[in-house]
């Protein structure tokens, strides 16, 4: 214990300036995110803070371990009565306490403040991410014994990643590489470290280092998979779905192409356009729904065809390619009012309900389904509704109790297919109406998030208010969230509904749009289906 104590005291003399820097960055990142959230009601889409926080953590690990490198014989502890464990364990402990825990706490607070989650998972995810970043830096520092060499390795890894992306004309064949990239890099470091230790020192020292490094490699791979990261999640899902042949169907009772569009007058004023495709995925369980589109081919009437591919690798924005097609359509002379609507959803509602929370979220973002190529043919007689401030709301998210909502302006229409999220809330009573949600297995899982840039951030951007309400309802039903709202299960009376607002979330091309509608002349009891 004495050795550990003196080691921590020694390390602190080196670490404290980095700790001060880290805390400043953390405070600035959190404040910046909160400020953006307060101003725009959204998380910042692009921000330097997430990258900065990761860089600070990475270099803290490097700098902290460089001075006590494992292989370099110039380290002070070498050739002294100091076991390696007494060097590294206190270091990792110190890094965890002063870097990871404050980072996780900040994330927890941020999540609670902005989303009203107040939930531990976000902070655990943040901690896991920070730990992975710090451990990567620590390993590099311990192995190279030099900040410059560590930076060179980091740059080399990024170049390798860039090359992998640049030469990836069609990403599918290389998906395996990208899945295993981080674990392979970690394993390479493991092998190199063991080899260095064996060659220059002894096998006795190499074995424990090798075991630790291999555990880290496993952790990196596990982390990549577990938290559905950019590199690990989609390809693996693709592996499971390649044999499932997607099939676009046209339900006989309504046209495939439906126009949806309106000018949002409260948020950005950006036209909101969605594409939906009714697609059957035979032999795929509901758990496998959360996948992206890779290629899209739109076949317009008259033989005009547009092929689109997501410009991101791997594509984690399902509608990127489709939105490109839309741009094409609206900028061309085909038909300025012809905006196709394609819905992607899972077939069986019962199947969807197996994991309600997760799947509801997916359905709200139109169910992300990964295809190699999607062929979508449009109706010869598309529905034109130019100028109509009309769109469809399917309220399955909030259960059947509220699927019919009438207003005197006919702004909302009930009994429609699910297309977006809707939330009824009463600003006067500060209550959010959340009907009971039947959950057979897991409750809704908030996605991984790191300083305002969640993994799967699009979903949360779009539905955070709904999700927060649901989450709040599930976990802290009796308390008010950070916005001061309390969730109630209903039913509500007519007076409550008269003061209520409906908040509708519609998937936008690039960002979600929130539309708020005041409910008037709402009849809660003796109401009939809207005639429209």
């Amino acid at each position: 214990m004495k050795g550990v104590a003196v080691q921590i005291r020694k390390d602190w003399t080196t670490l404290w300036p980095l700790v001060v820097l880290w805390w400043l960055v953390l405070i600035a990142a959190t404040a910046s995110t909160v400020q953006t959230f307060i101003r725009t009601d959204e998380f910042p889409e692009t921000s330097v803070w997430p990258q900065l926080t990761r860089l600070v953590c990475f270099f803290a690990g490097v700098i902290f371990f460089v001075q006590d490198a494992a292989v370099d014989g110039r380290a002070f502890w070498r050739a002294r009565p100091i076991p390696g464990a007494q060097i590294w364990v206190p270091k990792l402990f110190l890094l965890f306490v002063v870097f990871v825990i404050p980072g996780a706490a900040a994330q927890w607070w941020l999540t609670d403040y902005t989303l009203g989650y107040g939930f531990l998972r976000a902070s655990i995810v943040a901690a896991a991410w920070l730990l992975m970043v710090i451990l990567a830096g620590s390993f590099l520092g311990a192995l190279t014994g030099s900040v410059v060499r560590s930076v060179m390795v980091l740059v080399g890894c990024n170049i390798a990643l860039a090359l992998l992306t640049v030469f990836d004309i069609h990403p599918i064949p290389h998906f395996k590489w990208s899945i295993f990239l981080m674990p392979v890099l970690a394993m390479a470091l493991t092998v190199v470290s063991v080899w260095l230790l064996y060659r220059y020192q002894s096998l006795r020292r190499a074995i424990p280092v090798g075991i630790i490094a291999a555990l880290y490699a496993w952790y990196a791979g596990f982390q990549e998979h577990w938290f559905h990261s950019y590199w690990g999640y989609l390809p693996q899902q693709y592996e499971r779905l390649t044999e499932a042949q997607p099939k676009v169907v046209q339900p006989p009772d309504h046209p495939v192409a439906v126009n949806v569009g309106y000018e949002d007058d409260e948020a950005t004023g950006q036209p909101v356009v969605q594409l939906f495709a009714e697609i059957q995925l035979p032999n795929i369980s509901a758990e496998e729904l959360d996948i992206s589109i890779e290629w899209t081919r739109l076949n317009y009437p008259g033989g005009i065809r547009y092929s689109g591919r997501s410009d991101r690798f791997p594509p984690n924005r399902p509608f990127t390619s489709l939105s490109k097609a839309l741009d094409f359509a609206t900028e061309s002379d085909i038909d300025p009012f012809y905006i196709p609507l394609v819905e992607i959803s899972q077939g069986s509602y019962d199947e969807v309900r197996r994991k309600p929370g997760e799947l509801e979220l997916d359905l709200v973002v139109k169910g992300r389904v990964l295809f190699d190529t999607v062929d979508i043919a449009f109706s010869e007689n598309p529905v034109h509704i130019q100028g109509k401030r009309n769109y469809e709301v399917y309220a399955a998210v909030l259960s059947p109790e509220i699927i019919e909502v009438r207003t005197e302006t006919n702004l909302l229409k009930s009994e429609s297919n699910l297309s977006c999220g809707v939330l009824i809330y009463n600003p006067a009573s500060k209550e959010i109406l959340v009907p009971p949600i039947r959950s057979r297995s897991d409750p809704w899982k908030p996605r991984a998030m790191l300083f305002g840039r969640p993994v799967g951030w699009l979903e949360q951007q779009t539905h955070r208010f709904v999700s927060a309400a649901i989450d709040h309802y599930r976990y802290r039903p009796s308390k008010r969230n950070s916005l001061g709202y309390r969730t109630i299960p209903g039913p509500v009376n007519e007076n409550w509904l008269t003061d209520a607002r409906i908040r509708v979330y519609v998937q936008a091309v690039t960002k979600p749009v929130v539309h708020t509608v005041r409910l008037t002349d709402f009849r809660a009891e003796d109401w009939t289906k809207a005639g429209w």
Binding site: V6, K10, T13, Q67, R74, R80, P81, Y198, R204
Partner: protein, 302 residues
């Protein structure tokens, strides 16, 4: 007998470069041993192999009877390795580093530590990063000596230091060796410190052990001889066995003479005869060093 250091057929290769080749060396306890050799000869590799910082490619090296590969951290309570390349935590103060060491060494002598600080004119409040090169050398030495190890290995500790610091360190080392009887093995280029400190000298060149003698015997085996006489005589003298030319012209010749016994020296004197003027002087380690390194540089003819 348990040697302080014992190398048996020690070899170390880095890729295709052979740093040490079949080195056999034994250093008795209590000896102050100097490793000499030009840059890249393998001195540092030998010392690092001895303390386990490098793994021998073949052969073995033991320190205090323990094979270097099997050295455990606790063994370094009795072994000190000092190198100028060793990192010191620059953000710490001297006192903090000494406390850190005291927490790890089981035989740390706090009173002796303070005495060494006083002797080396170091303050516990000094920030290590702000110390001069000499100051850092003193600090390394103080840490190495405070736990009074049985064996001290030093790699180029005196290079680049001013004479005052060198004298301070050497005095301290000599005192420690006399008081505790510890063994010291050091690699150095500084001939003056080798002559002053070392009981025994080993010369390594291109990874091979060229010679290993006591300092006294090594110096006794060489003489610097200056002869003046006829050109024929000088020409003849330069061809004698053991003669290594240092300088000369048509009228005089200076050379290093290597001999095994005093008889050989007397024989040479007899050969040079009474027709010449012969002046015999003891050889310095620097001249012997140059000769063993194969780098005799003829002096400018005058």
């Amino acid at each position: 007998m348990k040697y302080a250091i014992e190398a048996t057929a020690l070899s170390k290769r880095f890729w295709r470069k052979t740093a040490l080749s079949n080195v056999n060396l034994a250093i008795s306890p209590g000896t102050i041993f100097a490793l000499l050799g030009p840059n890249g000869a393998g001195k540092t590799t030998f010392l690092k192999s001895a303390v386990g910082l490098l793994r021998p490619s073949s052969g073995t090296v033991s320190v205090l009877g323990i094979e270097s590969r099997l050295l455990k951290p606790r063994d370094f309570n009795e072994i000190a390795f000092i190198s100028e390349q060793q990192h010191l935590p620059g953000r710490m103060r001297v006192g903090g580093l000494l406390r850190y060491c005291a927490g790890h060494y089981s035989n740390w002598d706090e009173a002796y530590s303070q005495a060494l600080l006083d002797q080396f004119q170091l303050s516990r409040r000094d920030r290590i990063g702000a110390l001069s090169r000499g100051g850092k050398a003193r600090l390394r030495m103080a840490i190495a000596m405070t736990h009074q190890p049985s064996l001290i290995l030093m790699d180029e500790m005196f290079s680049g230091l001013d004479p005052i610091v060198r004298d301070d360190l050497m005095d301290a080392l000599i005192a420690l060796a006399q008081d505790c009887g510890c063994s010291i093995c050091f690699a150095s280029h500084e001939m003056s410190e080798v002559e002053r400190l070392a009981d025994k000298v080993a010369f390594i060149n291109k990874g091979r052990l060229v010679c290993c003698e006591s300092t006294e015997r090594l110096l006794d085996g060489y003489r610097v001889i200056e002869v003046s006489g006829s050109p024929e005589l000088l020409e003849q003298a330069s061809r004698y066995a053991g003669v290594h030319k240092l300088a000369g012209n048509r009228e005089w010749l200076r050379f290093l003479f290597e001999f095994k016994s005093t008889g050989e020296l007397q024989e040479l004197e007899g050969r040079l005869g009474s027709n010449s003027h012969v002046q015999i002087q003891p050889a310095g380690l620097r001249q012997i060093f140059r000769h063993l390194a194969g780098r005799e540089r003829p002096e400018v003819l005058q």
